[in-house]
Structures are given as structure tokens and as C-alpha cells.
């Protein structure tokens, strides 16, 4: 009797006929083994083959790890500026199943306000279960899974990693997982720009980059100082905001741009038929205009010594002012758009 299922049936396994056993089965098996021995001088380089050597001579020879491979979490920082992508949002700490991630939020030493950066970031590698949840939930694409697996050590405590040991440049992750990074690169950098704006001094710089960034900033400040009036050259890195003349020019440009944006927004989509949203276009236009205005202002200011070129972290002060103006203009345009929508 055979039982029939909807799609398939029950098969009673054939145990083979009872026959004289004089070793023919063993010989058959030996033939298979010999076949494999003969083939064992070839490399099994294809999944469709069953015979050949498929082992590799580790550590001289290594198999290329797939991009998705995950071992231990690492933190990313930007190669050039040294800014960490992490903003200490605590998502990874919350999701971690064995609870091995510990974060300290950075605070402004003067005001005590929280800054979007981690003061200290510790992961206990020895208890990490490599599940990859931290990398999955990270909204800033800061925490990623490393491919490095040779982590053995004689001292157990060495596996408690601090921020300096966890930080890797973005270029490192880009190398081990190019397509994964390409997917998130744009948004990750956009978010980084936002958090960099709210960081002060050296907070948020990867520990191994601190010296380099310090030197870079000092060099920039020096070159600025020699270029313009040395007496008024600012030494504080955040001096861009406090420099009055550039600021004024930028503000002016921003106001102009905002007005222009408002005008454009008032016209609506009629004047810009190719853009899906007129306001958006206007904002962009305003930003460009503001940038131009700022540039002009900066150019005219360069001649006279009364304008103090600032922003040591930017290669050129004008650039910084222009960027600032553009951002302000964009904000103004956004506001104008919001107002228009509300009315």
C-alpha cells in the first residue's frame, strides 16, 4: 500500500536484496576513494565538481571573504577630516543582544550640553556574538562589521576595545565592502555634515586622527594669518562665526537670497516648469546666489585689510563664508516655503 500525498508520495526505502557478502561493496567504495585520490592533485575550483582539493593553505593562501561577512563591529571615521560618523544615539547599545556595547555621550565642556559624538565607545569583543544587529540598526552608518578575524590574544582583557581600537577610516570599509558602502555613502556623509556642525573643537575626531587634525588646523590658521593681517588672525577654530565682516557679507547675501527665494516661491511653478517643485528650485537658486554674493563680498574684502579672513579649518576663508551663506540661504528659502504652505 502506498500513501499518496497531495504533491508527492510515501516511498518505502529499498534496503537492497540480501546477497552473498564477500567484500564487493567494500571494493566499490574503495573505487570511489581511489578515484578521489587520483583527482586529489587537482584543485577543486568549481562548485559543480565533487573531486579535487578544495582546501587552501591558510595562512599563506586566503579565501576572499564575501562582503556580507561579519565578524566584529568597528566604528568608521572620515578619512580627511577625521570626523567620526557616530553620534552616540545609543541605538546599537539598545539592540545588542549580549549587551556588550557601552557608550558615553560627549558634552560641551563649557555649556555641558550634549554633542552628537561619543566621548567613549567600548565594545567587549570577548562577549560579542557577531550577530550584526548593531550595524543593521545604526542610522548613521557608523558601526559596521569588520572582516578581520585573527583576534586571538593571550590576555582576555585585551578584547575589551575602546574607541581608538574600534575606529577605522571609511576607506577601509569601502575596500572590504564596496557595494554595501556605495549604497549608503551619500546619506552617511550628509548626516555626518549635520552632526559636524554641532560639534566643537576636537570632540568627535577619531582618536588616531586628533594629532593630524590639530596639525592641519594649525597649518591652515598659519597660512591664513600670513595671507592677511597677522594681527587680526584668529586662533580659535570656531572663529569663522565670530569674524564680523565676513559674517555681515554672508548675512547680507543670505537675506538677499531669501528674498529672491520668496519671490520665486511666490511665482510658484509657473516660472520654473521643468522643476517638479518650484520652491525647491528656488531654494537651490537662492543658495547659488548667496554663494556668489558671499564670494563677491569676500573678494572685495580681500583687498582691504579690514576684513579678517577666518575659518582656519577651511582651506580658504571665502569658501567657508560662501558655504555658510549658501546653507543660510537654503534655510531661509525653506522657511519661506513653509510660510507659504501655511498661509
Amino acid at each position: 500500500m502506498t500513501i499518496q500525498f497531495e504533491r508527492g508520495k510515501v516511498v518505502v526505502i529499498d534496503r537492497g536484496a540480501r546477497k552473498l557478502r564477500v567484500g564487493q561493496g567494500m571494493l566499490k567504495g574503495m573505487a570511489v576513494v581511489w578515484h578521489h585520490w587520483l583527482k586529489s592533485f587537482q584543485k577543486l575550483d568549481n562548485f559543480s565538481k565533487t573531486a579535487g582539493v578544495f582546501t587552501v593553505e591558510y595562512p599563506d593562501e586566503r579565501i576572499k571573504l564575501p562582503e556580507a561577512y561579519r565578524n566584529m563591529p568597528i566604528l568608521l571615521y572620515d578619512d580627511e577630516t577625521g570626523q567620526e560618523l557616530c553620534t552616540a544615539c545609543f541605538q546599537c547599545q539598545r539592540v545588542c543582544p549580549p549587551q556588550v556595547i557601552h557608550i558615553n555621550q560627549a558634552r560641551n565642556p563649557e555649556t555641558g550640553k550634549a554633542i552628537p559624538a561619543a566621548a567613549e565607545f567600548i565594545i567587549e569583543y570577548d562577549a560579542c556574538m557577531s550577530c550584526g544587529f548593531c550595524a543593521e540598526v545604526c542610522p548613521f552608518d557608523s558601526i559596521k562589521m569588520d572582516h578581520e578575524f585573527e583576534l586571538s590574544t593571550e590576555d582576555h582583557a585585551e578584547l575589551t576595545m575602546n574607541k581608538a581600537q574600534l575606529s577605522r577610516p571609511v576607506s577601509y570599509y569601502e575596500r572590504i565592502a564596496p557595494t554595501f558602502w556605495a549604497e549608503v555613502k551619500a546619506s552617511a556623509y550628509k548626516k555626518l555634515q549635520n552632526s559636524v556642525k554641532r560639534r566643537v573643537d576636537l570632540i568627535g575626531i577619531a582618536p588616531q586622527m586628533v594629532e593630524k587634525v590639530k596639525a592641519m588646523r594649525a597649518a591652515a590658521a598659519e597660512s591664513e594669518a600670513t595671507e592677511a593681517a597677522p594681527s587680526s588672525a584668529p586662533t580659535k577654530p570656531s572663529a569663522a562665526e565670530t569674524s564680523p565682516a565676513t559674517d555681515k557679507a554672508a548675512k547680507l547675501a543670505a537675506i538677499r537670497a531669501a528674498n529672491a527665494a520668496k519671490q520665486d516661491a511666490g511665482n510658484g511653478g509657473t516660472s520654473t516648469p521643468e522643476a517638479p517643485a518650484g520652491d525647491d528650485k528656488a531654494a537651490k537658486l537662492a543658495a547659488i546666489r548667496a554663494a556668489n554674493a558671499a564670494k563677491k563680498a569676500a573678494e572685495s574684502g580681500e583687498g582691504s585689510a579690514s576684513v579678517a579672513p577666518a575659518a582656519p579649518e577651511a582651506p580658504a576663508g571665502d569658501d567657508k563664508a560662501a558655504r555658510l551663506a549658501a546653507i543660510r540661504a537654503a534655510n531661509a528659502a525653506k522657511k519661506a516655503k513653509d510660510e507659504q504652505e501655511n498661509s
Binding site: V11, V95, F133
Partner: protein, 369 residues
């Protein structure tokens, strides 16, 4: 008449043939087993209690560590029970990916289990290497898709964590060429081998009625002649869309368990081939975009079960409406299949115990939890 004396000996807990830390308290009369009591609990890790202090999502990687040979199957059972509890829909494509992964898991589990069984019989390493070679290829595919070879953590509520990478399909198609050749080769290598027949035929017989009363499941139950497969008895996921047969044994000895597993690998291959045919037409993404991973199920309970390579794997969850399960229970096939070990071994020789234990195919991580 020679007067004999019974002797109690321990096999394990530290013994290479016990597949982990597992002790068998054996009463022998000469070479014959009079009684055998399985003693487990040496690998107890408090799995169920840990799960009750974790959130629902955080338990997913812990299920990998139950039966570390079949992390994909464990993932599926757990994902299914949470989806049942919360009411999450799974897109069609995700279901196909799940079935693909679980059937690959079944092949790798059986390839490994049979290799270890032959190892227990004394054919040291060579047949095991045959099984391990194919297992290795499947693990490479798992690594490509999920990021890890054994602790895959690939399933999420409402789908799987990411779609297959572009390099996956060509390798899988190559593998599907190799697998039938491997099955044939494996059968030629072993199925008629006189030593294997001598060691396995008529050894460790588990009669039908005993198997049912011990609630044994999986290949062990089917080898005893009962065609019970949850994929057929209560089709879950999309198993009602595939043609496949259920192999059963006729005697219920170690040899039947061996042959049933070989045939099950072939049936799994059939399913994978059908998955590949139907996958391109499958609708939806690899995960339900509306499914939240940070779930808070309504008050209630749910039980979901799958036909894992070792038997019926079930998860029972009770929710009190918070983000953590109130109660979390695993119905582990290895554990329940191990309980009739005493009855299976009684009357056989000491050397047979190791083979019978190997034929049940246990993983201590799942037995003790």
C-alpha cells in the same frame, strides 16, 4: 551455567563519541546492555530564561546557537512564531528564500550527520570528509547571503535580512550539478559496504508504537515506518507548492535511518530545484517593508512548528504585551529523540551504543539549551 555479574559504567560526559557533553549511565552484563539511562544537562545555558529578558528580536541570534548545524531552520521556526503572534505577513519572495535556505540546511545537516555516523562506526574521517566537502560549499553560500557560516542570523520578522548577492545564484547552480553526483558517490561509497551493513542492520530497532509513544519525530520516526512529515501533515510557509516524497523505512534500525537521510537529501534537492524555477516569478521584496523588527505583540500565545532536519522544532511564546516574551519554550527535536535511547540500546552490545546514538543525530546545544 556461568554466573555473571552486572556492572554499571559511565560513557561520557567527556567522550569523543557522545557528540558533546552527554553521559550515558550503562548497566552491562558482559558486553550486553542491560539498561541505559541518558543523563543530560551538562551544556545547559539557560537559553529559555535568557530569552525572557531579551526583546523578541534579540532572541533571533540566540536561536542560531540551539542546533548550531541548522541555524537557518531554527531561525525560521522562531520567525514564524513571532509572525504568528504579531500577525506579520511574509512576502512571497521571502518565503522562497526561506525555503531555499532551510532545504540547503537539511542537505548539509544530513551530509554531516551521516559522516559522523560512519565516523562512529569506525570509518575514521574518510566518509566524513565526503560529507563535509559538500557541507562546506553550502556554508560558503550561507556566508555569502547571511554573513556567517554557522550562526547565520539571516531571518527577520517578515522576511530575511537581505536579498541574495549577485554571485550567489551562479554558485548555487553549480552546486546543484555537484549534489546529485555527490549523493550517487556517497551511496556507492557506503550503502553496500559490508562493515556498515554488519554494524547497522538490525541494530537499534525502534518499533513504531514505541516511537509514537515517545513522540519521536523527524528521520528517526520515518525510519520506523511512519510517514509523518510536518511539511506534508501541516504544510507551513509555501511547502504546499512543491512536489516531494516522504521516504520511510521498514525495519526502524540504524540502516533505515541512514537510508532515509540519504533519500531526504535527494528530496531536498528536488525542492531546491523547484524553488529556483519559481523564484523569479515570486512577488514582493525579501522583507515585508511594513514589518517592524522591534515588535510588541498583543497579549496572547502562539506555537509554530517546522520540520527541522532533526524533527519537529517548535517554539511556544506567551506575550504579556511588552517587548519581551513572558514565556519562551523550545520543543527541541534532538532532546525528545534522545529519550528512547535506553529502549533502543537494550539487548545490544556496548559498541552498538555509539552507533545508535550517532543514528539519532543529536546536537547537544539543542538537547540541553
Amino acid at each position: 551455567m556461568i554466573k555473571t555479574e552486572e556492572l554499571q559504567i559511565n560513557i561520557g560526559p567527556q567522550h569523543p563519541s557522545t557528540h558533546g557533553v552527554f553521559r550515558m549511565l550503562v548497566t552491562v552484563d558482559g558486553e550486553t546492555i542491560v539498561d541505559l539511562v541518558p543523563v543530560f544537562g551538562y551544556l545547559h545555558r539557560n537559553h529559555e530564561q535568557i530569552a525572557e529578558v531579551n526583546t523578541y528580536l534579540q532572541n533571533m541570534p540566540y536561536t542560531d546557537r540551539l542546533d548550531y548545524f541548522n541555524s537557518m531552520a531554527n531561525n525560521q521556526a522562531y520567525a514564524m512564531v513571532v509572525e504568528k503572534l504579531v500577525g506579520i505577513e511574509v512576502p512571497e519572495r521571502a518565503e522562497y528564500l526561506r525555503v531555499l535556505m532551510v532545504e540547503l540546511t537539511r542537505i548539509l545537516n544530513h551530509a554531516g550527520a551521516l559522516g559522523f555516523l560512519i565516523n562512529d562506526m569506525g570509518a575514521w574521517q574518510t566518509p566524513l570528509a565526503f560529507g563535509m566537502r559538500e557541507r562546506e560549499k553550502i556554508l560558503d553560500l550561507f556566508e555569502m547571503a547571511s554573513g556567517a557560516r554557522m550562526m547565520c542570523n539571516y531571518f527577520r520578522f517578515g522576511g530575511v535580512v537581505r536579498d541574495l548577492p549577485p554571485a550567489f545564484m551562479p554558485l548555487l547552480k553549480d552546486l546543484l550539478v555537484a549534489l546529485p553526483a555527490f549523493f550517487d558517490e556517497f551511496e556507492r561509497l557506503l550503502c553496500e559496504n559490508e562493515i556498515l551493513l554488519q554494524r547497522s542492520e538490525g541494530v537499534g530497532v525502534l518499533p513504531k508504537d514505541l516511537a509514537i509513544s515517545y513522540s519521536v519525530t523527524g528521520p528517526v520516526l520515518r525510519a520506523s515506518g511512519i510517514p509523518y512529515d510536518i511539511r506534508k501533515a501541516e504544510p507551513y510557509s509555501i511547502y504546499d507548492r512543491f512536489d516531494f516524497d516522504v521516504p520511510v523505512g521498514s525495519v526502524g534500525d540504524v540502516y533505515d535511518r541512514f537510508l532515509v537521510r540519504v533519500e531526504e537529501m535527494r528530496q531536498s534537492l528536488r525542492i531546491i530545484e523547484q524553488v529556483l524555477e519559481q523564484l523569479p516569478d515570486a512577488e514582493g521584496d525579501h522583507i515585508n517593508p511594513k514589518a517592524k523588527q522591534n515588535v510588541r505583540p498583543p497579549v496572547g500565545d502562539a506555537y509554530a512548528r517546522i520540520e527541522s532536519p532533526k524533527g519537529e522544532l517548535g517554539f511556544y511564546l506567551v506575550s504579556d504585551g511588552s517587548e519581551k516574551p513572558y514565556r519562551y519554550k523550545v520543543r527541541a527535536p534532538s532532546f525528545i529523540n534522545l529519550t528512547p535511547l535506553g529502549d533502543m540500546c537494550r539487548g545490544y552490545k556496548v559498541a552498538d551504543v555509539v552507533v545508535i546514538l550517532g543514528s539519532i543525530d543529536i546536537v547537544m546545544g539543542e538537547v540541553d539549551r
